[in-house]
């Protein structure tokens, strides 16, 4: 389900709108993932605090959004562009790739709460495809 030119331009335009709120989105999406899908907490057992507004959740949310920004910039070659991140998640952190889908859903929900007027069905389609492709690129180096 590769990205068409139209998908890419919809993603870029939508990202330009949401980027100013990146920190809030990152924190909110990550916190929702941890509470709604508590099995994901297993990857963060070393965090002293997982509550809403806590430093680890805020900081990690920021990192995730930074990764997504990079993905948007390298949308024409996600596998190549996310290679280092994929290796990191595959070999060091060993995150089960099923979790990327879970985080993608939470990101989409947060975008829906903050940008209901911009998340038209066409943008929803393009962004959902984009997140699925990011998940694939993140899983690329696993085996």
């Amino acid at each position: 389900m590769s990205l068409s030119d139209k998908d890419k331009s919809l993603v870029k335009a939508f990202w330009a709108k949401v980027a100013p709120k990146a920190e809030i989105i990152g924190h909110d999406a990550l916190y929702r993932m941890l509470s709604v899908y508590p099995q994901t907490k297993t990857y963060f057992s070393h965090w002293p605090d997982m509550s809403s507004g806590s430093a680890p959740v805020k900081n990690h949310g920021k990192k995730i959004m930074g990764g997504l920004a990079e993905a948007v910039a390298k949308i024409d070659d996600l596998v190549g562009g996310l290679l280092t991140l994929s290796e990191l998640h595959a070999f060091q952190m060993r995150v089960d790739p099923a979790n990327y889908k879970i985080l993608a859903h939470c990101i989409l929900v947060v975008l829906a709460v903050y940008f209901p007027d911009d998340l038209t069905p066409e943008v929803h389609l393009a962004f959902e495809k984009f997140l699925a492709n990011v998940a694939l690129a993140m899983s690329d180096k696993y085996r």
């Binding site: 909110d28 916190y31 929702r32 509470s35 709604v36 809403s52 859903h105 989409l108 929900v109 947060v110 829906a112 709460v113 903050y114 209901p116 998340l119 069905p121 066409e122 929803h124 389609l125 959902e128």
Partner: protein, 148 residues
């Protein structure tokens, strides 16, 4: 048996009380058909589904959206017995309609996105999302139950 906390019950019924089946049903179904176009295979008789605009303007999609969302109402009103409430519906989807049950999750996700858009960050909080997600998981499991 599914155990619901008082907070979960009130989050689910509270949210449902503010949802218009006639409004959200068509939106969620249209999004399913647009965002996950392979689901159109079950709606060959619905006429023009060739573009997002066609899908959103299609009266059969709208009508069926209301039917589907109306089905959720029975689950909300029977939170302690969704499995039994949905037994016939599950058989229908399996034996008559031959719907791949993975599609139920896709529709559940579309309903969640529509709810998120409607209620915004102050009402669709992480706690509410958690209760809502649990509810939709129970609904999907009940719909899958009669598949053999």
């Amino acid at each position: 048996m599914v155990e619901w906390t008082d907070a979960e019950r009130s989050a689910i019924t509270g949210l449902w009380g503010k949802i218009s089946v006639d409004e959200m049903g068509p939106q969620a179904l249209a999004r399913l058909l647009i965002v996950f176009p392979w689901t159109q295979r079950y709606f060959a008789s619905f006429g023009n589904l060739s573009s997002p605009a066609a899908i959103m303007g299609n009266p059969k999609v709208a009508a069926h959206g209301k039917v589907v969302m109306g089905g959720l109402d029975r689950a909300v009103k029977n939170l302690d017995n969704v499995k039994a409430t949905y037994a016939q519906l599950s058989k229908l989807h399996s034996e008559k309609l031959h719907v791949d049950p993975d599609n139920f999750v896709l529709l559940a996700d579309c309903i969640t996105v529509c709810a998120a858009m409607k209620f915004g960050p102050s009402a669709f909080t992480p706690d509410v999302q958690e209760a809502w997600q649990k509810f939709l998981c129970v609904v999907v499991a009940a719909l899958r139950r009669q598949y053999h």
